[in-house]
């Protein structure tokens, strides 16, 4: 177990290092373009030279990378070109807002998709199973950017129940959270539900369930005490991997609803070539994705007795 954990964490560190090298090469390989991005296209040649000199861009590449990485590890992400403040000042509040969005999405999506998946998988091929399966295919087929438009057409413009933007400009409002969370849930729950269904259906055909039924246990007890325990191991991994998907989803949702989160920040930074913000956001996104994957792997081994005791 300890070997596995240290292996996974080693992979996490290695991935982050490789990603940092890639990002650095991709975005900072030529100092000339860095200076143009930071100082703007109308800056004079001398001022660019001075800026590069002052920020150590004439050092060799590996030295620059080392310095960059060192600063990065200590939370010095550089200054945002657009907002003229240190990146960390913008990044952390934005990340917090996205965490709130993600928390509510998961808090509703996980119970919903698990219940639907278990109900569908309990009796494979039943009418309920058909309905749940088909509707989860349909909801996963509607991309987030399409459902944002459709849902706001219904709830904002049609029924006028909910606000069309979620900028939270006058403090936090629950009403403004409903649509973003709804869009994310609609897109994500289908996949988790289908995975849960597959896992549940597989468990239901196993021998120990059959013997539990045959020895006369009430159906409810067979499901709750025997089937669920094993059926919910696989969805655990799937749910952790959903965090990776959610990071993509929040970009679209935050962009559309003008929610001041991390995804919108990354997109704005890319559209404006705001170099240091892109680097910081990308590193954070990959870290969250890989870390959740690591937790999924370790958790799966812990939950699954067949692996835990081998």
């Amino acid at each position: 177990m300890m070997i596995l954990i240290s292996k996974r964490i080693g992979f996490l560190v290695l991935t982050m290092l490789v990603v940092s090298v890639l990002l650095f090469l991709l975005l900072e390989y030529s100092p000339g373009s860095v200076a143009t991005k930071v100082l703007g296209p109308y800056s004079s040649e001398e001022s660019r030279e001075l800026w590069l000199e002052r920020h150590g861009y004439f050092e060799p590449l590996w030295w620059r990378y080392g310095a960059w990485l060192g600063n990065f590890m200590s939370g010095e992400f550089g200054d945002s070109v657009r907002f003229k403040v240190p990146v960390s000042e913008i990044l952390w509040p934005r990340l917090w807002n996205t965490a709130i969005l993600g928390f509510w999405t998961f808090a509703i999506m996980i119970p919903l998709s698990l219940i639907l998946g278990v109900l569908a998988g309990m009796r494979e091929g039943s009418k309920l199973d058909r309905i749940i399966s088909v509707s989860s295919i349909i909801t996963t087929s509607i991309p987030e950017f399409a459902s944002t438009v459709l849902l706001s057409a219904i709830f904002v413009f049609g029924l006028k129940w909910l606000p069309g933007t979620s900028s939270m400009s006058s403090g936090f409002e629950v009403k403004q959270m409903i649509l973003p969370v709804m869009v994310l849930i609609i897109y994500d729950f289908g996949y988790v539900a289908r995975m849960t269904r597959a896992s549940m259906a597989e468990v239901m055909t196993s021998h120990y369930i059959r013997s539990a039924v045959l020895k006369g246990l009430p159906y409810r007890q067979v499901i709750l005490k025997h089937a669920l325990r094993n059926a919910l191991i696989a969805p655990f991994t799937v749910i952790m991997l959903q965090i990776n998907w959610l990071l993509s989803g929040v970009i679209v949702v935050e962009f559309f609803f003008a929610y001041k989160g991390f995804g919108a920040l990354l997109l704005e930074a890319s559209l404006n070539q705001d170099l240091y913000v892109i680097e910081a956001c990308a590193m954070v996104a990959v870290f969250v994705a890989v870390a959740s994957q690591t937790i999924a792997d370790i958790g799966y081994t812990y939950l699954n007795p067949r692996i835990r005791f081998s």
């Binding site: 295919i137 991309p143 994957q293």
Partner: protein
């Protein structure tokens, strides 16, 4: 032959048939767009007409016009050409690269496998859209760059599937026979192994086409897609979404178009998988 048989058996799966129908519908629309589109998709005719408005110089705007006065029905029809050109092309490129990587990793094993698998793991650990945004922001947005970005981001996933299939197939007798005959490893990979791995790959390709269509749509929606004025569904939604309060038709119809095409590929994939599991 088995792949053909799957398509023939598809008739037994209702969702699969609905999916095939939806895809076929859009393929026909794309092919016939120049013949059946009522107006020029780029021409400025009459701004902000509601659906069903009759045009003074003949013709009807069945789905209305957008903020620049372009006929939405015609733009959706021509837009299907754009999406059905770029999505399969990008998927094909991703598959070519992914299959080569998967064959090399799964057949040769050893260093090939370690290096290729590690590269894939790292690319796959990126949240997809973050990867696309960084690539497109760096190399700029154009048709070719979108294909490059999709190839780069999807090939690792395909490689994993192919590698898994090859690991299973490489110990078969016919592979051993080919090795004894002294065939080159290239021949064995492409002629002996690849054709036997195609079943699951066809199902995956349908699903992946759906994802690629979503990707192209999302990039257009975020303003990173194909440059205007070519009709592109995602771009159409982005351009008009701020007016959706007054003119919902401008955004809702492109949304329905793209959702139905993606749904078509997903149902088709589901039907094919169901049918292929049956025999």
């Amino acid at each position: 032959m088995r792949a053909l048989k799957s398509f023939a058996l598809l008739r037994e799966s209702t969702p699969g048939m609905v999916g095939a129908g939806l895809v076929l519908f859009w393929v026909i629309v794309a092919i016939l767009a120049p013949l059946i589109a009522p107006f020029d998709p780029l021409a400025t005719l009459q701004p902000m007409a509601k659906p069903g408005t009759v045009y003074a110089q003949g013709g009807t705007f069945w789905l209305g016009t957008d903020h620049l006065g372009r006929d939405i029905l015609s733009r959706i029809m021509y837009g299907s050409q754009t999406v059905l050109f770029y999505a399969p092309l990008a998927t094909l490129c991703a598959y070519t690269l992914g299959i080569m990587m998967g064959l090399a990793a799964g057949y040769h094993l050893g260093w090939w496998d370690i290096v290729l698998s590690r590269i894939s793991d790292i690319i796959l650990s990126f949240p997809v859209l973050v990867l696309y945004i960084i690539i497109i922001a760096t190399i700029g947005s154009s048709g070719i760059n979108i294909i490059i970005a999709i190839t780069f981001a999807s090939a690792p996933g395909i490689m994993r599937i192919v590698r898994g299939l090859v690991l299973d197939l490489r110990n078969r007798d016919y592979v051993a026979a080919a090795q004894t005959r002294g065939e080159s490893s290239m021949f064995i990979m492409l002629v002996e192994i690849l054709p036997n791995a195609r079943g699951p790959l066809i199902v995956d390709a349908c699903l992946r086409l759906g994802y690629v269509i979503i990707t192209i749509g999302v990039l257009g929606f975020l303003g990173l897609g194909l440059p205007p004025p070519d009709p592109d569904w995602g771009g159409m939604i982005n351009e008009t979404r701020k007016m959706a309060m007054i003119f919902p038709h401008m955004t809702v119809f492109p949304v329905l178009a793209i959702s139905s095409l993606i749904l078509g590929f997903n149902l088709l994939a589901d039907g094919l998988r169901e049918v292929s599991l049956r025999d």
